[in-house]
């Protein structure tokens, strides 16, 4: 789960609204990439649908950040080439995504307090809610 570990590190190091938004946007994208890679090969309809619900919330979180006015127009850490995500077991993916989503929720909630009233704050709140839902889905709590 290198992709998710890197995303986690970036998110932890991010300081300032623009930096947090940038790292959060990429982290949501990375969750989608990891789940997408799992979906390509899995044969279990049940697990695939469970991840589908998680991925939908990750996509909603990414979209919320995407429309924040303070999000840098281009990624602050552009990738030279798309990184093919590692193929992990369902359990490993669950644990990694749950941990990252918890961090996302916390960082975005913190960013919301510094963003001031307006579109940035609303975006942070929305994205934090989506991250919490991702975590809850993986932990088995109802949304």
């Amino acid at each position: 789960m290198t992709l998710l570990i890197t995303a986690r590190d970036r998110l932890q190091r991010a300081r300032g609204l623009a930096s947090v938004l940038d790292a959060a946007c990429d982290a949501f994208e990375d969750i989608l990439a990891v789940i997408g890679a799992y979906e390509e090969t899995t044969t279990s309809a049940g697990t695939a649908i469970a991840f589908l619900l998680v991925a939908t919330q990750a996509a909603n979180g990414r979209d919320a950040v995407l429309f924040a006015p303070s999000l840098p127009p281009r990624s602050l850490h552009p990738r030279q080439a798309p990184v093919p995500p590692e193929r992990g077991s369902a359990g490993k993916i669950k644990a990694s995504v749950a941990g990252l989503s918890l961090l996302l929720a916390s960082q975005l909630a913190g960013a919301a307090t510094t963003a001031g009233a307006g579109a940035d704050q609303a975006a942070c709140h929305d994205a934090a809610r989506c991250a919490r839902t991702v975590h809850d889905l993986l932990a088995g709590a109802d949304r």
Binding site: L32, G36, T47, A48, L52, R74, D136
Partner: protein, 621 residues
């Protein structure tokens, strides 16, 4: 189906109003003036129904019968017959009906008033599915296409004919049997009798069409099952404690989904309610609902093979496979939606909210855990077949629930595809620029979705719509095989897909037999009546009377063939001059032989077929 008002409620009430009732006076009694006034109300509303089947519902492209088809002729003849009947009843001696009319005192008039009220309410119910449009009427529900289908129009016309016959019988009895001491009103009696004769002609025309192209019992059931166009209430979560409660919850939620999906699809493409959040929720929960339908169909297949429906087991296996394919197609659509976003987000349409509820209800039915929620996920152990349908007779109820769910998802697939296409055309689909390759240099985080992205997304939705329709149709076959109440949904889909000249049926097993038709009353001829009036009870004498009545009936029908050209033909009123000749004519008309109608018709009223609209191609559902 949920518990709201249905067309059949009013139709049944109308038939019941005419049925003999123990301890009540015969309905074939009453004041001529009063009965004529009440009959005019009934004739007027029957005329409106006939008009509806002929012209008012032409706003839907469908295959109509050939202009000379039996039903087209019957429709034209029914309209003529009702016009003629109204003409006799609008005799200056009879006042025009006033609404609300004073309560009638005569037994038959009271019953006819009830019939008119029931039929008017039934027609109002059908019309809740339409609204006036700029040129023609517009559809307000997915049922509208079914109501306007040729097959349903035939069923409706058959009902009009079935009601006309007992009414004619009772009305003619009032006309020909003066009450001792009451004023004679000979002219009014003749007019009432003539009106009833035209109702017999109507019944005979419809019967003749039905003999050539029978109305299937399933079509009559479908007509009766048409609900009022209203959003049913949300089912109470407390209903989840039992399988019947869960099945009702699934069926009601599916009906709500159909209603709300239709309503969402009427929104313009620029509506802010159309968001990627909503599209994603509808897609993911439809994948889940389809997955649940597959689990349930598998369980039911196992149960069916052990119980009362072994023949339905292969249908249920096929239904499970089809539902699994639908789940897969929705899954791919939901995945494709991750690549795009919309200019508005967050808001969820009522249809998407209902789709989520449907996933919850079907999940509660499919899984063993009674506290299952969406967060519990689809990997929970499914409910055991024995627990799902403890008794063999429980199986159709569960089949109906998954049929409703699959049908709701199929309709949602169509409306979501339609909305997505409109959003793409309006340029509302965007992509995050971070997901684009390096060739794009866009100085903002999102950009209009490239055509290859929207094209791929729409293709996924097309697949989801097709797979969902296929799943609903396959589960519909299982519903028919198990006699599940939801089988009318299968008939409805078929009626809007395939209409047209049916080949003359020789197998009449599925032909509708009308519940009220045999209760029309005494069909004894005038001679039998006279013998009974004399107190004759000898079976031999009554049988000879019946033979003679039949012979006179035949003679009159054959004479109708020999009638002279119009200019020298006596008007029908001449034949009704005396009560005796009117009784003979009534008996001939009551035989249902369409040839007898020639005794009444003038050549100007020669059979006219409706001008039919040209065939139009079936629109993409």
């Amino acid at each position: 189906m949920t518990g709201g008002a249905r067309f059949g409620d009013f139709l049944d009430a109308a038939h019941r109003s005419l049925a003999p009732r123990a301890g009540e006076p015969s309905p074939a009694r009453g004041d001529v003036e009063e009965v004529s006034r009440s009959l005019l109300r009934v004739v007027t509303i029957l005329g409106r129904y006939t008009q509806d089947t002929a012209t008012a519902f032409r706003d839907v492209p469908h295959l109509t019968p050939a202009p000379t088809s039996p039903w087209s002729q019957a429709r034209a003849q029914a309209r003529d017959a009702l016009t003629n009947a109204a003409g006799f009843l609008l005799h200056p001696a009879v006042s025009r009906p006033v609404w609300p009319g004073a309560p009638s005192a005569s037994p038959l008039a009271r019953r006819l008033d009830d019939v008119a009220a029931c039929l008017a309410a039934g027609r109002d119910l059908l019309h809740t599915h339409f609204a006036p449009g700029p040129q023609d009427r517009v559809h307000r529900s997915p049922w509208a296409r079914t109501i306007t289908s040729e097959r349903l129009n035939r069923a409706l016309l058959a009902e009009v004919g079935a009601l006309a016959q007992p009414i004619a019988h009772y009305g003619a009895n009032v006309a020909l049997a003066p009450v001792p001491g009451a004023p004679a009103h000979a002219g009014r009696r003749r007019a009432l009798n003539a009106a009833c004769q035209w109702l017999w002609v109507l019944g005979a025309s419809v019967d003749a069409a039905g003999r050539q192209q029978p109305v299937a019992a399933a079509d009559r059931d479908l007509l009766a099952a048409i609900p009022v166009n209203a959003l049913p209430g949300r089912p109470a979560p407390s209903a989840t404690g039992t399988i019947p409660g869960l099945c009702d919850g699934v069926s009601t939620t599916a009906e709500r989904l159909r209603h709300l999906a239709w309503r969402s699809a009427q929104q313009p493409p620029w509506t802010p309610a159309l968001t990627v959040t909503s599209l994603r929720q509808a897609a993911e929960t439809s994948a889940l609902t389809s997955h649940h339908c597959a689990l349930l169909a598998e369980s039911l297949a196992a149960r069916a093979s052990q119980g009362a429906f072994p023949a339905a087991s292969p249908d249920l296996v096929a239904a499970a496979q089809a539902a699994r394919r639908a789940a897969g197609a929705w899954f791919q659509a939901a995945r494709a939606l991750r690549q795009v976003t919309t200019d508005t987000r967050g808001q969820v349409t009522p249809a998407a909210a209902e789709a989520r509820d449907l996933a919850w209800w079907t999940g509660r039915l499919a899984y063993a855990d009674p506290a299952w929620t969406l967060a519990s996920g689809p990997s929970c152990p499914p409910r055991a077949p024995q627990a799902l349908a403890p008794e063999p007779e429980d199986l159709p109820r569960v089949v109906a629930a998954i049929h409703h769910a699959a049908d709701g998802v199929a309709l949602l697939a169509g409306t979501e595809h339609h909305q997505l296409r409109a959003a793409a055309q309006a340029g509302r689909l965007l992509v995050p620029t971070r997901t684009l390759d390096g060739d794009y240099d866009i100085p903002r985080p999102y950009a209009p979705a490239p055509s290859q992205v929207t094209g791929a997304l729409l293709a996924r939705y097309r697949n989801a719509a097709q797979a969902s329709r296929q799943a609903a149709a396959t589960i519909g076959r299982a519903a028919c095989a198990t006699g599940a109440p939801s089988r009318i949904l299968a008939t409805a889909r078929e009626a809007t897909r395939t209409t047209g000249p049916a080949s003359p049926a020789t197998d009449r097993r599925d032909e509708a037999t009308h519940p009220g038709r045999d209760k029309a009353g005494d069909t004894a001829g005038p001679l039998q009546h006279a013998l009974r009036g004399l107190g004759i009870t000898s079976p031999a004498l009554l049988a000879r009377g019946a033979d003679l009545d039949k012979a006179s009936q035949r003679l009159l029908i054959e004479a109708a063939d020999e009638l002279s050209p119009a200019h020298s033909r006596p008007p029908a009123t001449t034949l009704n001059k005396t009560a005796a000749s009117a009784a003979l004519l009534n008996h001939a008309l009551a035989s249902g032989d369409p040839q007898a109608a020639q005794l009444l018709r003038q050549p100007a009223q020669a059979d006219r077929a409706d001008p039919e609209p040209e065939w139009e191609p079936e629109p993409e559902p």
